[in-house]
Assembly symmetry: C2
Homo-oligomer: 401 residues x 2
């Protein structure tokens, strides 16, 4: 079996932890499996280097930042390879370039264009553990590029795809995907399995274990992903294709996103294209709009609501103020949050959303906005009731069972 392991910054945060990772990789190798390891920079290292650059300018050139930041992963890869060798394992460290990763030229946020796995394959054939510096590649000119924050996950998934690996194991300091945040609901249960689509909804809703780009790529390439802890031997969560079995589960998880502010525009004039104008202007100001709700009211006018991250609330206010003459009234609320329930089972079961609204009513929680997708129901409610809502929904869908 060919397995790709990926260890994040916390897992390789100091020399003892690198030693621990080496022991884990050694154990996996001893089972007879072939192992490719992708590593991040030691935790704190990337921020230190960013701080160095910002000593000189708040806007350093992206090409130079890529050369600067890519050094951290190289250090970890070399050290892990040395640690494995010191345990008697044949290991070889590779940069992104040496591993065959070619990207476009969008420095600091490059996209992987192709991977030539032949160097890795040759090393694997020789029985070597291949240790790859994550987060990086080179463009066609041979300049170093990086893949953006969380890019090491992306490296791991892309390499697993190119190598046709049997699985890609993402190690961090949490041991899998939970039905909800255990800090809010101690009864939260770790999931054995979750679908790519559910994971995508969960991570876009604020569960930070895996970045969306990596999950999207895993889905596209059909890479079986495991989220595991590098500090325990717990089983972790498998992220994979939907199966019939999965659909028996109505809801996989409930998520709270506190970083929300609500904007509601009442009585928007029916001039065609006004919504487009407002959202174009918000986009031009780099304001990330999350939920959008539009309702025709009985008098032919429209009510338009949307949410933005709290930090962008003031900017959003300024933008909509320019549409003053087109709108009867505006309403802003920074003290809201979003609770969401996610599950592929919703596709084939009706009544999931209705049950959520019933729970909210029983808890005397007023729902300000609702948005649904095929596998998700999101509700904007008062910030002070967010955790209460999560606990109630967690219980209602039997997630603690």
């Amino acid at each position: 079996m060919l397995r790709v392991h990926k260890y994040g910054g916390t897992s390789v945060g100091d020399l003892e932890r690198i030693e621990n990772v080496a022991a884990r990789v050694a154990k996996a190798k001893e089972t007879g499996d072939d192992i490719v390891v992708v590593v991040s920079a030691m935790s704190g290292e990337t921020n230190k280097l960013v701080g160095y650059a910002e000593h000189f300018t708040s806007n350093p050139a992206k090409k130079e930042m890529d050369m600067l930041l890519s050094s951290g992963e190289r250090v970890t890869a070399a050290l892990l390879s040395i640690a494995l060798q010191s345990k008697g394992f044949d290991a070889v460290a590779m940069t992104g370039r040496q591993a065959g990763i070619v990207t476009d030229s969008s420095h600091t946020y490059a996209r992987i264009e192709s991977i030539d796995p032949s160097a890795m394959q040759a090393a694997i054939k020789e029985g070597k553990v291949v240790v790859v510096a994550g987060f990086q590649g080179t463009n066609k000119d041979g300049s170093v590029t990086t893949l953006g924050r969380g890019g090491s996950d992306l490296s791991a998934v892309a390499l697993a795809g190119a190598l046709d690996a049997d699985q890609c194991e993402i190690y961090s300091d949490v041991d899998g995907i939970y039905t909800t945040d255990p800090r809010i609901e101690p009864k939260a249960k770790k999931l054995d399995t979750i679908s790519y689509d559910e994971m995508l909804e969960l991570s876009s809703l604020g569960a930070k274990v895996l970045q969306n780009r990596s999950v999207e790529l895993a889905k596209k390439l059909g890479v079986k992903l495991y989220a595991k802890s590098s500090f325990s031997d717990n089983k972790g969560t498998l992220i994979t294709e939907e199966s019939g079995n999965m659909e028996e589960v109505l809801v996989s998880g409930v998520v709270l996103d506190k970083n929300q502010a609500r904007v509601t525009l009442r009585g928007v004039s029916d001039r065609p294209g006004i919504a487009a104008e407002i959202f174009t202007m918000l986009a031009n100001e780099n304001i990330n709009v999350d939920m959008i709700i539009q309702n025709k009211s009985t008098d032919g006018l429209t009510n338009l609501g949307f949410t933005v991250p709290q930090s962008e609330h003031e900017n959003a206010k300024k933008v909509v103020a320019e549409f003053d003459h087109d709108i009867q009234g505006m309403d802003f609320d920074q003290h809201v949050c979003k609770v969401s329930i996610v599950g592929v089972g919703m596709k084939s079961h009706s009544g999931v959303a209705a049950q959520a609204f019933t729970v909210m009513a029983e808890e005397a929680i007023n729902i300000q906005m609702i948005s649904t997708s095929e596998i998700k129901v999101s509700m904007v409610i008062d910030e002070s009731q967010g955790e209460q809502a999560i606990r109630a929904l967690h219980a209602a869908y039997n997630l603690d069972k």
Copy 2:
């Protein structure tokens, strides 16, 4: 004019010093010259990384060490490029590979095989300052290699040669080559000019400003070298071809090397090849032999003397003890030092060595061993009289004038 600047670890030791280097490079660029800058790792960085590797094993793989250690220079190159950009200068950072440096595969002590300067030349043509990570290249397989300690000097000289640069300026924390160590003789004078050969003798004798490999390469490629300080605007020392003018100066400098231990073998049997056997065995034990003196004595037997670094004295003792039956007596002395006078003028002037011996006699210093080359006279004397000898020789050859 095309100038290559090289800044060592102390010169780029922290962010303020990198800022200082950026200001110096900017000033040079503003005169209209084209500038290529080669940088070392920030001081302490390489030792830190070596320490990391040694956490795992005392004998880390050299290929991995090269990936590890080459990261330090990349960080400095990226930061200096960012610092120059923040001052409004167009700059581009390049790794050794991007600068076109191809080496052999002797990891941690690679030799430069070829340089393709086209990427640098294209950037220079666009008016850019090119900032190159020193100490590194890639081999034909694309693996990162490093050039050994002091390798950034070598990078600078090699790039200057490949670019046909007008001069190569090596910046450090000393402002040139002195007639002797100013800590021993405060009257020591900085030299305006010195020949490659004199510099080679001086650096092999313990003057640490420039490494021999770099001076040898500069001589081979005809690169005009300047040794300068990055902390002052002093003129520095030009290291170049011998000129008629130089030869008027009998002696350019006097040097003390305290890291010497003497071994003398008396009455070595005249069995052919015995000296070869002894020195082969010393070489096999990685003992660096410095001076070697052999004299036939009147009885047909031979006296053989040599010096080794003090740290290798005990090992040398063990080696020669194995030749016990071939030798009448042995004499070891750890408390010796070597004083040397260097000058191209010796080639065309007789009496330089005789004058040195006279000075020693006047100072009542017993000379234990003598070795001479075309431009050098070295004498092994008692360690306690080393500094006295340096001061007396410095005065005798009018080096303070």
